[in-house]
């Protein structure tokens, strides 16, 4: 049962991963090719619930694939990720999205 849940988590993560990759690229391309460059970059801190190092690394990995976001730094105690967002109007919403999209499934894996 546990194995099955993990398998499902992996599948979902892969799917999100591939989709995000495309979205990220397209969005970057759109920004780049727009007549005028208009970005709203930001650095945000995301609290981390997963505890295992590999899980944190995985979280950082997936956040770095997301459209226009990259994990800039992981705090030494591994409780926060610092992300650089290429273009965001609402930092809070972004944080929520990361936790909702990735951390949920990684927690599933870690369990």
């Amino acid at each position: 049962m546990k194995q099955l849940r993990r398998l499902r988590a992996i599948c979902v993560l892969t799917a999100i991963f591939l989709w995000d990759l495309v979205v990220a690229s397209v969005s970057v391309a759109r920004i780049v090719l727009a007549p005028t460059i208009r970005t709203h970059p930001a650095i945000i801190a995301v609290p981390v619930s997963v505890r295992r190092p590999w899980a944190v690394a995985l979280f950082a990995y997936f956040t770095s694939l997301t459209p226009g976001s990259t994990c800039l730094h992981v705090s030494d105690d591994r409780t926060r990720l610092y992300l650089h967002i290429l273009d965001t109007q609402d930092a809070e919403a972004s944080v929520a999205r990361f936790k909702q999209l990735y951390e949920r499934w990684i927690l599933e894996l870690e369990a």
Partner: protein, 908 residues
């Protein structure tokens, strides 16, 4: 004669050992050698007397025109008698003179003297000019060693060096002359040279040949302006002075002149030069002799004057001159050696040789005084001594020759001066000045007084009964020099002749000189312009100037600025190419314009752009990035033009360079202040641009030429059939041209050794490098990625024979995997993972590569012939794989040696 030379040589090495065993009497024992040799020569007298020439030939090196022919004619015979006879006396004398010196020194002295005797005999006996040159140089070297015998004395060393440098200069001139004669005649035979004197003189090389011979002779015989070395050479122990610097060696110049008289006589100007130089020498030397206040230097200058007379006589034409020359040669040897012996006794006894400080020695050194009187009378040309006879001949020769007044007048003056010197050196130390020396350091001994006495007596006896010596030695010698027999009539009394009158005049003036020596001496000493005539200052100053000039030149050339060195090299190279192209007169060809593919062209241009940017970069980091861009673009260019192996290797190299050079840049400051002025940059750019243009011209022309390589075609055919590999490049590397790869593997291995010896090692770092701060994700993924790379490197190694890859790239990729480890976790961790030291890896790799060629060798085939095993159930296996594995290990080990060392240094 070979036997004689050989005995002389062996004896010179063996006999002096007696001095180690025997104390006082050593000289007598050792003298048996020269006495024996003298006897041997005397036994040949009957042959020589008949005017026959004894010749002996041995092949030495015929292919280089060198034969060891010896030849004994009358002139050589006279020299041989003098050389061996005086040597015997010198050795006996030295036995006494050196008493009390350490055994080692005595042995050394005797060895040198006897070796010198051999060298002299060799010089005068040699028929081949090359052989003569050989011995001639040996006399110079031995003279150097004897002059500087007391090597603790700086003066002695200086004098020795001067003597050597002057005579060696002459030796080189002689070498040039001999080679030119050989070039003209095609033979190095002296007889041939004399026979073909006209040919030599008439050849285009005639003038340089004669000039070289004259210079050689003048330096050896201390003729003006090379005379200055001889008085200094008196630093030698007195027996050596007596032997080398008065009786024998200095007369080699005369020997040479006499032998080559026909040659320079044939030039028309040779005689004039010889006579002029001789007269100058005589004058200068005579005056200096009167100035000298030192026993030995007075003798030395008088020797120079005598050598001048001899030179003059060689220069004069007519048989009488020859007779006079031969006679004077003998007379001078006898009396001058005796006088030196006496000077030696005085020096030995009193430790003093200043003529003004000596006096009244006749009482304590009676036999020496006696010998001195005898020799001096001869030197002064007082009858019935032999010196008188020779002087008579001198005047006769001058009157007979075509040279008239000036030489004659000079000869009179000089001879008068000689009389003066003879009187002074006899009277002052021995008879005048009261009893200054009651306490003597050493008294007379038999071995000290017998030689000078013998010589003095001989001088008297010969003149009283000249028949024997005339018959045996003089007449053959004259015949040999003059080329045909001359009736030599030697007697003390010739009747009242002009010569006798001249003699009387000379003696008269001489007596006056003796009387007023003190005044003349003081006057002359005060006149400093004579110091300038010494010329030794000039020589020394020019040597010092040479040294200074050399230092200045070297300082200018070797200024230490690397940039200017490199500029010279690059500029020189460009000039060389330009010369080569222009001188070859070829016109550059242009290749057919093929279809230019745009993308690869653009990629190549990006590479060029990177290079340009690298030159303009302010920061070293930027320069490095720009360099990397070039490397990257060129790698792409390779790939786009059908060279995947090259591309892969170049990519790997670029990546590793980044890893390694960033470690270097970590240590050094990135911002570099300007090291060149704008003008320098401009000139550098011009030089670099010119160089690049030259290369373009060459490469374009080459590319336009015909194409097609037999080797390529062969490899393309044989790579699979013979080398069992699909990847032709790899098969070339591990099989066809495996030997290159082997060498290259060694190159990398040695680079690793260097890196290991220059960079810090584990344990040597006092403080462990701090754990670098690395992104968390990097640390999380690093290990996996590193193992992936390592696995990939093994795949690349394995597949290399058929697909792009191989040992090199494999090793580089494996090294990259460790680079990754060390970047993520620090160098310690990477080193721990490797376990073995990088150099051990390198050593094992070298062994693999080298050993992979051995099976072929053992199987009786050439080294590196690869053997294959192709079982059906397994992929083919060959020794190439061991070879490639070795390459892999060496590359891996070497890069790791660099990597670990550099990273340690960087984090220090």
């Amino acid at each position: 004669m070979f036997v004689i030379l050989l005995i002389s040589l062996i004896g010179a090495c063996v006999m002096p050992l007696a001095a180690r065993v025997i104390g006082r009497g050593a000289g007598l024992v050792i003298a048996l050698l020269p006495i024996g040799l003298l006897a041997a020569f005397v036994s040949m007298a009957p042959v020589v007397e008949r005017g026959w020439v004894l010749g002996e030939g041995r092949n030495w090196a015929p292919r280089i025109g060198l034969d060891l022919t010896l030849r004994l004619d009358g002139f050589s015979f006279l020299f041989c008698l003098l050389v061996t006879g005086i040597c015997a006396l010198v050795v006996i004398y030295a036995g006494g003179y050196l008493t009390g010196k350490p055994r080692q020194e005595r042995t050394r002295f005797f060895t040198l003297i006897l070796l010198f005797q051999t060298a002299m005999l060799g010089t005068v006996l040699a028929e081949s000019l090359l052989v003569m040159l050989l011995f001639w140089e040996a006399t110079s070297i031995l003279s150097f060693l004897l002059v500087g015998f007391d090597s603790r004395s700086a003066r002695a060393r200086r004098a020795a060096l001067m003597a050597l440098q002057v005579t060696a200069f002459g030796g080189l001139m002689l070498l040039a002359a001999v080679l030119m004669i050989g070039h003209v005649l095609g033979s190095y035979s002296m007889a041939e040279a004399v026979r073909q004197a006209e040919t030599i003189a008439a050849s285009p090389l005639g003038t340089p040949i004669v000039a070289c011979i004259l210079i050689a002779a003048f330096t050896k015989s201390a003729q003006f302006p090379f005379h200055f070395w001889l008085p200094n050479a008196m630093q030698a122990p007195t027996p050596a002075s007596a032997y080398l610097h008065s009786a024998t060696m200095v007369k080699l110049g005369i020997y040479l002149l006499a032998r080559f008289e026909p040659v320079f006589a044939a030039t028309g100007w040779g005689r004039g030069v010889v006579v002029t130089v001789a007269c100058l020498t005589m004058l200068v030397a005579a005056l200096q002799a009167l100035r000298a206040e030192n026993f030995k230097s007075a003798l030395a200058y008088s020797t120079i004057a005598s050598l001048g007379i001899l030179t003059l006589l060689v220069g004069l034409d007519g048989p009488a001159a020859t007779v006079a020359m031969v006679g004077f040669l003998l007379a001078h040897a006898l009396y001058k050696a005796a006088l030196f012996f006496c000077a030696g006794v005085v020096l030995h006894a009193t430790g003093q040789q200043n003529l003004r400080a000596l006096g009244g020695l006749a009482r304590v050194l009676p036999f020496t005084a006696l010998a001195c009187v005898g020799a001096s009378l001869s030197m002064a040309g007082i009858p019935p001594f032999i010196g008188f006879i020779s002087k008579e001949f001198l005047f006769e020769a001058q009157i007979e020759s075509s040279w008239e007044t000036a030489p004659l007048a000079i000869a009179v003056i000089v001879n008068a001066a000689m009389v003066g010197v003879a009187g002074v050196v006899t009277l002052r130390p021995f008879f005048l000045g009261g009893a200054k020396h009651r306490e003597l350091r050493n008294g007379e001994s038999l071995s000290l007084v017998a030689p000078p006495l013998l010589l003095a007596v001989a001088g008297l006896l010969i003149s009283l009964d000249p028949d024997w010596i005339t018959r045996v030695a003089l007449r053959p010698a004259v015949a040999a020099v003059y080329g045909r027999a001359v009736d030599v009539d030697i007697a003390v009394w010739h009747g009242l002749t002009p010569m006798l009158m001249l003699s009387a005049v000379v003696i008269g003036i001489g007596a006056l000189i003796v009387r007023y020596w003190r005044q003349i001496h003081i006057r002359l000493r005060g006149a400093e312009r004579f110091d300038r005539l010494a010329l030794e200052k000039l020589w020394e100053r020019s040597l010092r100037g040479l040294m200074h000039g050399s230092r200045a030149l070297t300082g200018w050339v070797q200024h230490g600025d690397l940039r200017r060195y490199l500029l010279v090299v690059v500029g020189g190279m460009a000039a060389l190419i330009a010369w080569s192209v222009i001188a070859a007169g070829a016109v550059p060809r242009l290749p057919d314009a093929g279809t230019l593919r745009l993308a690869p062209a653009l990629v190549a241009l990006v590479g060029l752009g990177g290079a340009v940017a690298a030159t303009r970069a302010q920061s070293l980091f930027t320069a490095m990035i720009a360099t990397g861009l070039t490397g990257f673009s060129i790698a792409l260019t390779f790939m786009l033009n059908g060279a995947p192996d090259l591309a892969l290797t170049q990519f790997a190299v670029e990546a590793l360079l980044v890893v390694l050079l960033t470690a270097l840049l970590m240590a050094v400051p990135l911002a570099s202040p300007a090291t060149r002025t704008p003008a320098m940059r401009r000139s550098d750019a011009v030089v670099a641009g010119v160089m690049a243009l030259m290369l373009v011209a060459g490469i374009v022309d080459m590319a336009a030429g015909p194409q097609g390589s037999a080797a390529s075609a062969f490899y393309s055919e044989m790579s699979y059939l013979g080398g069992k590999g699909h990847n032709v490049v790899n098969v070339i590397l591990v099989d066809f041209r495996a030997f290159d790869t082997l060498g290259e593997t060694m190159v990398i291995a040695m680079a690793a050794v260097l890196a290991r010896s220059l960079l810090m090692r584990r344990g040597r770092a006092a403080q462990e490098a701090a754990q670098p701060s690395v992104h968390f994700s990097f640390q999380a993924f690093g290990r996996v990625l590193s193992w992936t790379l390592l696995a990939a490197s093994l795949v690349i190694l394995w597949r290399g024979h058929d697909q792009p890859g191989g040992g090199f790239v494999g090793g580089l990729v494996a090294a990259l995997s460790f680079a990754l480890l060390s970047l993520a976790y620090g160098v310690e961790r990477a080193e721990r993972t490797l376990r073995a030291g990088p150099l051990t890896l390198v050593g094992i790799g070298m062994a693999c590569t080298l050993a992979s060629g051995l099976p072929g060798l053992i199987a009786g085939r050439p080294y590196l012939t690869h053997l294959w095993w192709e079982p059906v159930w397994f992929p083919k296996l060959g020794t190439t794989m061991i070879f490639d594995l070795g390459v892999y290990l060496v590359v891996l080990g070497a890069v790791l040696a660099f990597l670990f060392g550099l990273q340690r240094e960087a984090t220090k």
